[in-house]
C-alpha cells in the first residue's frame, strides 16, 4: 500500500494505492490521524485501492467519527467491487461517497 497526502490549508486529500488489509491498515490509520488536526475537509481518493477488508473499514469508520466532529469527509473514485463491500456492510450509508 502507498499513501500520498496533499495538504492545502484546512483541506486534506489522501490518495491510497493498493491493498488496505490487516497488515497495512495500521499504517494508513497513522498517516491519516497524523494529519487531521485543523482539517475540516478530508477527501480519501480510492482510485487505486484494489482491496479492503474489515481492518480498512475500521480505519474509515474511526476517521469518519473524527470528521463528524470537526468537518466533513468524502470518499471518491470507489470501484465497483469495493462499492459492493461498502453496501453489504452498511458503510455506503455512513460514508459520503462520490
Amino acid at each position: 500500500m502507498n499513501v500520498n497526502k496533499i495538504e492545502n490549508g484546512e483541506q486534506l486529500t489522501v490518495e491510497i494505492e493498493g491493498r488496505v488489509d490487516t497488515t497495512t491498515a495500521p499504517a494508513l490509520e497513522a498517516e491519516i490521524k497524523g494529519s487531521l488536526e485543523g482539517k475540516t475537509d478530508v477527501v480519501l481518493d480510492f482510485k487505486n485501492v484494489e482491496y479492503i477488508s474489515s481492518a480498512g473499514l475500521r480505519v474509515l469508520l474511526s476517521t469518519q467519527k473524527i470528521m463528524n466532529r470537526q468537518g466533513s469527509m468524502k470518499v471518491i473514485n470507489v470501484n465497483e467491487d469495493i462499492m459492493e463491500i461498502f453496501e453489504v456492510t452498511g458503510f455506503s450509508d455512513i460514508l459520503t461517497i462520490e
Partner: protein, 134 residues
C-alpha cells in the same frame, strides 16, 4: 484439495493470501468473486490468529478446493472453541457515531459467501466457506 499449514500469526497473513490467490488464479475465478473470497479468508484467518490461542500460538491449516464451479476454503485450528456463525451481526443501519468497530469481519463473511459452516471435532475448530464462481 490443496492445503497449507502454518503458525496462526498475523505475520503469516501474506502467506495465506498468496496461497489462496494462486489457487483462485488456477481455478480461473473471476476478479470480483476472488476479492470477496480473499476478504473472507483474511477475516477468518485473522480471527484465529488473534483469538484462538490466547497469548500463545498454534497452527492453522487452510485448505482449498474447487469443484463444479464452487470454491471451498476450510480453516482448521486446535485453539479455543469458537463458532463464528453464532457471532451476533452488527446493526448496519446505525449512524457512524453509534457504530461499533468490532464484529464487521465475520458479518462480511456471512454476507458475501454462499455458505459459512462450523463444526467442532476432535478438539479442533473447522470453519468452511463456500462460494460459487458464477
Amino acid at each position: 484439495m490443496k492445503e497449507i499449514t502454518l503458525e496462526a500469526t498475523l505475520d503469516n497473513l501474506d502467506k495465506v493470501n498468496a496461497f489462496i490467490e494462486e489457487q483462485l488464479d488456477e481455478a480461473g475465478c473471476p476478479m470480483k468473486i476472488s476479492m470477496q473470497i480473499c476478504v473472507a479468508v483474511e477475516e477468518l484467518f485473522v480471527n484465529v490468529a488473534s483469538y484462538a490461542y490466547g497469548d500463545g500460538t498454534g497452527d492453522i491449516t487452510v485448505g482449498f478446493s474447487c469443484e463444479d464451479g464452487t470454491v471451498s476454503v476450510s480453516f482448521i485450528d486446535s485453539g479455543t472453541a469458537f463458532d463464528p456463525t453464532k457471532r451476533e451481526d452488527p446493526d448496519t443501519s446505525l449512524p457512524a457515531s453509534e457504530r461499533e468497530v468490532g464484529g464487521l469481519g465475520i458479518f462480511m463473511v456471512k454476507k458475501s459467501m454462499d455458505v459459512l459452516d462450523y463444526e467442532y471435532k476432535d478438539n479442533k475448530n473447522i470453519v468452511t466457506i463456500k462460494k460459487k464462481m458464477a
